[in-house]
Structure formats: structure tokens, C-alpha cells
Amino acid sequence: MTEAEVVTHETGHPSEAQYVRVALILAGLTAVEVAVYYISGLKKVLIPILLVLATTKFSMVALWFMHLKFDSRMFRRLFVTGIVVAIIVYLIALSSLHVFS
């Protein structure tokens, strides 16, 4: 399905069916997160897997439900700037306090 087919012409936003599909994927990813948490064989790679799943869920909500995929790039820049600044500032702070060592 092309992007043009899933975006309604009136609003420039996705159709309701597309929103439901995104929600189902999000529910599935949440189930995978919880399942991965309980699989003892994945303990060594648990943190990377959980971070990838959380980032995917975060991005899907921001892109589809918050319409960052469809709206002006200026909104995306404002939000991403906040996220990037927060990550950089707090990674530096936590590293200087030896949280990761």
C-alpha cells in the first residue's frame, strides 16, 4: 500500500483503519517486550532488545499518532531537538557520575 492510499485527502492524516493497524502493531510490540523479559536465554541481550522495541514504539506513536510523518518538518525539529538535547545532557551527566562503569 502506498502512502497516498493510506492518507485521507481531506486532512492529510492517515485513515482510521491505518490508525487501528498501528495500534495493533504497538500492542504486539508490547507483548514481545514482556515476553522477552521472561525468556531467561535472552538475559545477555535483553537491554539492547528492549531499547530497540521501546524506540520503535516511541517512533510509531510520534510519527503516526502525533502526525510527525505528515506535518511540517518544523514540528519534528522542535521535538527531536528536545529529545536529542535531553539525551546528550543526561548521558554526559550520568557518565561523569560513573553510572555506566
Binding site: H13, F65, H67, A86, V99
Partner: protein
Amino acid sequence: MTATGVVVEDTGHGAAEAHAAHVTSTGLSNVKIAMWAFLGSECLLFGALISTYLLYRGKSMVGPYPKDVYDIPYTSVSSFVLLMSSLTMVLALAAIQRGDHRRLRVWLLATALLGSTFIGGQAYEFTTFYREGLSLHRNLFGSSFFVLTGFHGAHVTIGILMLLSLFSLSLRGKLPTSKAETVELVGLYWHFVDVVWIVIFTLIYLVPSK
């Protein structure tokens, strides 16, 4: 380019409607820009609270510790409820954009109910933790956990109040289709508290302590 020399970016419904209402120097809705700037700044607030939790993780001198109190299946259901409230919120926005005010009210009420279920679940979780000996003053885990999740819960509660306000306005006929952007702004706030919970659920509940 408009008659006033302003370049208008084709950004979909919100910008087009804002442009119809009044011309801005960016061609975008000022209140929507303000909301996105606010949400960007909120990233720093929650970043600070999450970082504080991570800093104090595993440094409590006395229990209870996270593994003693966390109930992952219970919190997973709460997370699912909040995630689904984002779906009902976006369906409310779609409803007002096509002028379906009855469905707008149904989805707004559904979102507020799902949010209230999440808050009720958090109140139950806090009470259970307290009975198990974890309080704000008990240890570093209790302090950082209650402040972080409490702040998030306060944000969800404010969101519920905004949703109920929209529901009330719609019932009184004071939320016409031309004001769809108001629903969109409340929706952005609501989705933001959802994405923050996605991060909290992973980093605080699922990532194991040292």
C-alpha cells in the same frame, strides 16, 4: 507564496486551517508550534527524572528493592491501557475533522476512561508498594521511583481534565469542526504522556537492576 509574501508549506489540515484563520510568519499555527516547543522542553524534565532514577539504581542501603515490589504483568496491562488510549485519542481527532461530533464525544470519553483506568492502576500500585514498606523517604529507590512515576501520573491527570473539558464543550455545542486544532493540541499532549510511559516502562520496570 501568498499575497502577503509568506511561503506556506503544505502541511495538511492543521496548517491549512490555521492559515485560513490568520496568516503567520511561518505559515504554521502558532499555538501548534508552541505546543511542540513545550513538548520538546518536557523531554528535558522527564529526562532529568529518569536520569535521577538511573543514577540511584542499585544504590539503596535498605529494602524493599525493585525486584521485591515490581509486578510486571500488572504494569504491562496498565501500559497496554495507556497505549490504547492513544488510539482512541487519534480517532477522536479524526472524528471532529470529518464533522462527526457524536463519535468525537464517544472517543474523548473512551480516552478519558482509559486514562482514568491507568491512574487508578497507578494508585493501586503505589498503595501496594507502600504496604510492602516502600515510601518516598524509605530509600533512594522509593524517592526516585515515586517522584518520576508521580510526575507522570500528574501529567496524565491533567490530560484527563483537558479531555473532560473538551467533552463538556462538545456537549454544549462549543466545539465546532473549525476548532479541530484544539482537539489536536490536547491529543499531542496525550500522546506525549504515552511515549514518556513507553520509556519509563522499559527503563524503570523491564531493564533489570544491577
